[in-house]
């Protein structure tokens, strides 16, 4: 079976010019993600789990390595080298990202926030909103909140809106960064069920979960990241 995403030797460090410092994050990550399967990233805090996801989405520029993504047409793009326009295109049609926090346009109703990815893709507003309603219902977001901007929602409610927005466009590759971090057990179960359905439909997932139990319930593959390299080692490696 061909991987939808193959990560080879991915490293990320941050160079802070003013402090003249190199901050290491993930280092030499090798892994693959397959359609219809979930790969979980595990490892200690600071091992760079979130950095891997952000590099794939190109919110971070990788410092080294390749990230080979196979698109719907079968073309392979190295996300580390892809142009900005190519990344925007892939974000719109193939790669979705659900983070712990909801970053969305202020003053938009929860319903419109969830529908936005479909509208951006050119879908008719009414159809997009209908799908958004379906997902919000499925994720147990009370109907009285749908017309309200999520800014005032509780952490759990925000997270569900965030999930609904990430899932609505059915990306082929879904990046999940602790998508259930502030949910109660009942809602977590709903999310797990929903992710299983989406997985069965063929979506590939690369995920970070806080709870080992969720890894057990959802992951088909587990990749363990090593603790971060000490700064001095990194400097030596860079010098050599």
């Amino acid at each position: 079976m061909q991987a939808i995403l193959k990560i080879e030797g991915l490293s990320k460090h941050f160079q802070l010019h003013d402090q003249n410092k190199l901050i290491p994050s993930c280092a030499n990550v090798d892994m693959a993600v397959y359609s219809g399967a979930l790969s979980a990233l595990v490892g200690p805090t600071g091992a760079g789990k979130s950095s891997v996801l952000k590099c794939v989405y190109r919110t971070y520029l990788p410092s080294a390595g390749r990230m080979l993504f196979r698109d719907a047409a079968g073309h392979v793009t190295d996300l580390a080298q892809a142009s900005e326009y190519r990344m925007l295109e892939l974000r719109q049609s193939e790669i979705g990202f659900v983070t712990q926090f909801l970053h969305c346009l202020p003053r938009k109703s929860a319903l419109d926030v969830v529908a936005a990815p479909l509208v951006a893709r050119g879908d008719i507003l009414e159809n997009a909103q209908e799908k958004a309603r379906e997902l919000l219902r499925l994720l147990n977001v009370p109907e009285r909140l749908w017309a309200v901007p999520p800014a005032t929602f509780s952490g759990g409610e925000k997270q569900r809106v965030n999930l609904a927005r990430g899932l609505i466009a059915r990306p082929r590759l879904l990046l999940l960064d602790e998508p259930t971090a502030s949910l109660d057990p009942a809602t977590t179960d709903r999310v797990v069920d929903l992710l299983k359905v989406i997985k069965a439909e063929g979506v590939a997932m690369l995920a970070i979960f806080h709870h080992p139990e969720l890894v057990r319930r959802l992951a088909d593959r587990v990749v363990e990241l090593a603790p971060p390299v000490a700064v001095t080692d990194l400097l030596e490696n860079c010098a050599s």
Partner: protein, 276 residues
């Protein structure tokens, strides 16, 4: 996606200029003032492209040259060097090679500009409706009833009460003046819109509603926009891609979330770190 604009090597020198202007200025030299001839290098070697329906942010502090870029593209100012090609349907127009009449035609029919200072974008001696009518007249709509109807529709769209269309913009609040400017810019449904610090100096709540309006317009009309601002919040909200400028040079460009979360250049890191 279709390319709508391509800018290559755009430069602008205020002053007579000399052979050392470019090498003696820029971020490394920490100045945009040429020490040899005293000219100001407002922009140098600025290159980028813009696709249909896209919002591009240009970010930088005062004097970085960000406004100079849009002013030359809107023909408010002539560049010292460089090229800009506007892709208009099947036609390609090399902007700086056009004669004055052709440039005026593009300004009136294909481009729109919203200035930070409403006095630059509006004629305060005629009514709000009259301002829009001026632009409609230049774009060949001549029937009085039609012009009035369209002006009133545009004002309603930008949330200015059409009942006030016969008042002078002088009597409007700053936020309303910006709305009239936006209505005027949109009158001809241009595929390309320049926005130069349009929310600077407005109350936060007024800013928010103007930004909402800009996003709605972009979604409805798929207008391509270049948004010039020093405000990281505006960039985050509006722009998919961003250029960072300092002393007339583009020092960094990329996807907006990457520029804000993983800035590469020391200057951008400082800008992002100092944001509220």
């Amino acid at each position: 996606m279709k390319k709508i604009l391509e800018v290559r090597g755009l430069s602008k020198i205020h002053g007579q200029g000399c052979a050392h202007c470019y090498e003696s200025t820029g971020p490394e030299m920490d100045t945009n003032l040429c020490p040899h001839c005293g000219s100001v290098v407002a922009a140098h070697g600025v290159s980028f492209e813009l696709h249909a329906g896209e919002i591009l942010g240009i970010m930088g502090e005062s004097g970085s040259g960000k406004s100079t870029v849009v002013k030359t593209l809107f023909f408010d100012d002539a560049p010292s060097a460089g090229e800009a090609v506007f892709f208009d349907g099947e036609q390609q127009r090399s902007l700086f090679a056009l004669n004055a009449a052709e440039q005026r035609w593009l300004r009136n029919h294909r481009f729109g500009m919203v200035y930070q200072n409403p006095h630059l974008g509006l004629n305060f001696n005629v009514s709000a409706g009259g301002n829009i009518a001026e632009r409609l007249l230049m774009s060949d709509l001549t029937h009085y009833g039609q012009i009035r109807e369209r002006a009133s529709m545009l004002l309603a769209r930008t949330e200015v009460l059409p009942e006030r269309m016969d008042e002078s913009p002088k009597q409007f609040s700053g936020g309303m003046q910006q709305r009239v400017q936006i209505a005027k810019a949109l009158a001809t449904q241009p595929p390309l819109l320049f926005l130069d610090e349009v929310t600077t100096g407005l109350d936060l709540s007024v800013q928010a509603r103007i930004l909402d309006l800009i996003l709605e317009i972009q979604q409805e009309l798929r207008t391509a926009m270049i948004v010039v601002t020093h405000d990281l919040g505006v960039i985050r909200l509006l722009a998919g891609r961003t250029l960072v400028m300092k002393y007339g040079r583009v020092i960094e460009s990329g996807l907006t979330d990457q520029i804000l979360e993983d800035p590469q250049h020391a200057y951008t890191q400082r800008l992002v770190a100092s944001a509220l």
